[in-house]
Amino acid sequence: MKLAFWGILMSAALGLICALIRYWKIPVLQRIIGMYIELARNTPLMIQLFFLYYGLPRLGLLLEGSTCAIVGLTFLGGAYMAEAYRGGLVAVSRSQIEIGLSIGLRPFQVLRYVVFPQALAVALPALTATSIFLIKETSVFSIVALKDLMYVAKDLLREGHSTESNLLLIVSYLAIILPVSLIFGYLERKVRFAGFGN
C-alpha cells in the first residue's frame, strides 16, 4: 500500500511536469516526453517489468525491490497522469489566458491562478482513474517487491487456506480501493463547478 501511495504521488508529479513541458511546447524536451508517453502507454506491462527487474541489474543498476516497484509505477502512471493533465490544460480556453494577461498577470501567474485550477477540475476524473489503476497494478509490480497483498495471499495459499485467503484478498483490495475512490470522488465534487465560461 505504501508502494501505491508513493507511486501515485510520484506519478502525479512526473505527469504534471511532462504535461507542462508539452503545454509550453518546450523544443526537444516535448518530443522526448511525447515518445516517453507513447512508450509507457503502449508497451505491455510485462515487458516494462522484465526490463525493470531483469534488465536494469544487467545494466549494473541494482535497485531495492520496493524502489524498483515505485520506479515502475511512476514510469507507467506518469504517462497516464500527463495525458490526464493535458486534457485539463487544453480544456481551458485561450480567452481565459488572454483575460488573465490583460489584467496584468504574468504568464506564470496566469497558469497558477487561472489555468491550473480549472485544468485540475477537468483532469480530476482521469487522475482518479489512473490512481485506482495504479493501486491495482501495485500487485503486479510487487512480484519482485514482495510486499503486496498478493504475496501475503500466496503465502496463505501455500499454507492451504485457499478460499478464505482469496476472500481476504478481495476484501482487502476493496478496503483499499473503495476509500480511495470515495476520497477522490469527494475532492472532485469540491473542485468541480458546473458551467465553464458562462
Binding site: I99, L101, I103
Partner: protein, 255 residues
C-alpha cells in the same frame, strides 16, 4: 500632472500582419487624456486586432505605440506593467469561472499590484455598488446574467486603476435587454473623465458617448470626425456606405 495636451496614447504607422495578410496597414492615432474614441467599421477591418496590439496581446510588425511618451512596442517591454495602465474588456464577457465575483476582481490588485486585500476589497465594493452589483459579490459567474458578467468584467479592469480602457464590442454577445445596462456603465465612466477606446456596433451609443469617431476599413483609418459630423454627414463615400447599411437595417426592423 501631465499636460493635458500631451497624448496618453500615441500610435504611429502601426502595421500588423497575420501570415501573409496585412490586417493593419499603417494606423496613426493620438488619444488625449479624458477622450472617448469610438472605432467603427465593417467586420474584419481590423478593429479588434488594433486594440489587441495596444496592450501587447498581438505583437506588431512595424510602427510604434507610445504610452505617456514611452515606447511600449519596443522589445523588452514589461507588458504586465503596461497592461495595468491599459485595461481591456472583451466581447465574450468571460470571468474566471472558478472564482466568485469578488475574487475575480481582486486577483489583479492583490497578485499583480501586491495591494492589501482589505483595501482592494473596499475599492471593489464601491465599484460594485456603482454598477449595482454589490449584492452579487459572493456569487459565482455561472449564477450571473450576461449583462451582469460584463459589468463585473468592467469593474475587474477598473480596479487596476488603468489610465486608458479598451472596450472591444462588449455588448455584441448580449441579449438586447442587457445591452443598455452595460452601455450605461460606460456612459458614466465617460462622464467621469476616463480615457476610453471603444469598438462598437451600437451606433446610437457611439453618437452619444464619442468625442471622436474613427472609421476603419480594410486595415486603414478612412475617416476621423466628430460624432455629429460623422453620423449626419460623413466626409468619405465609404463611411457613407457603411452607415447606410445600418439605416437599411433600421428600416427592416420597423416593418
Amino acid at each position: 500632472m501631465k499636460k493635458s495636451d500631451q497624448a496618453i496614447l500615441k500610435v504611429t504607422d502601426l502595421h500588423k500582419q497575420f501570415d501573409q495578410t496585412e490586417v493593419l496597414k499603417g494606423i496613426d492615432l493620438d488619444v488625449y487624456p479624458g477622450e472617448v474614441i469610438v472605432i467603427v467599421g465593417p467586420s474584419g477591418c481590423g478593429k479588434s486586432t488594433f486594440l489587441r496590439c495596444l496592450n501587447g496581446l498581438e505583437p506588431i510588425n512595424s510602427g510604434r505605440v507610445e504610452l505617456n511618451g514611452q515606447v511600449i512596442t519596443a522589445p523588452g517591454t514589461d507588458w504586465s506593467l503596461i497592461r495595468q495602465k491599459i485595461g481591456m474588456v472583451f466581447q465574450n464577457y468571460e470571468l474566471f469561472p472558478h472564482l466568485n465575483v469578488m475574487d475575480n476582481i481582486l486577483l489583479g490588485p492583490t497578485k499583480v499590484q501586491g495591494r492589501k486585500k482589505s483595501e482592494a476589497k473596499a475599492e471593489a465594493e464601491s465599484w460594485l455598488e456603482r454598477v449595482d452589483l454589490l449584492e452579487k459579490a459572493q456569487a459565482y459567474p455561472r449564477q450571473l446574467s450576461g449583462g451582469q458578467k460584463q459589468r463585473v468584467a468592467i469593474v475587474r479592469a477598473l480596479c487596476m486603476s488603468p489610465e486608458v480602457m479598451l472596450f472591444d464590442e462588449v455588448t455584441a454577445s448580449l441579449d438586447p435587454e442587457m445591452v443598455r445596462e452595460v452601455l450605461d456603465v460606460m456612459l458614466n465612466l465617460a462622464k467621469g473623465g476616463l480615457t476610453m477606446l471603444i469598438v462598437t456596433h451600437e451606433m446610437a451609443f457611439a453618437k452619444a458617448v464619442a468625442d471622436r469617431v474613427i472609421f476603419m476599413d480594410q486595415g486603414y483609418v478612412i475617416e476621423t470626425n466628430t460624432p455629429e459630423a460623422f453620423f449626419n454627414n460623413p466626409n468619405t463615400e465609404r463611411a457613407r456606405k457603411f452607415l447606410n447599411i445600418f439605416q437599411f437595417e433600421g428600416v427592416h426592423k420597423v416593418q
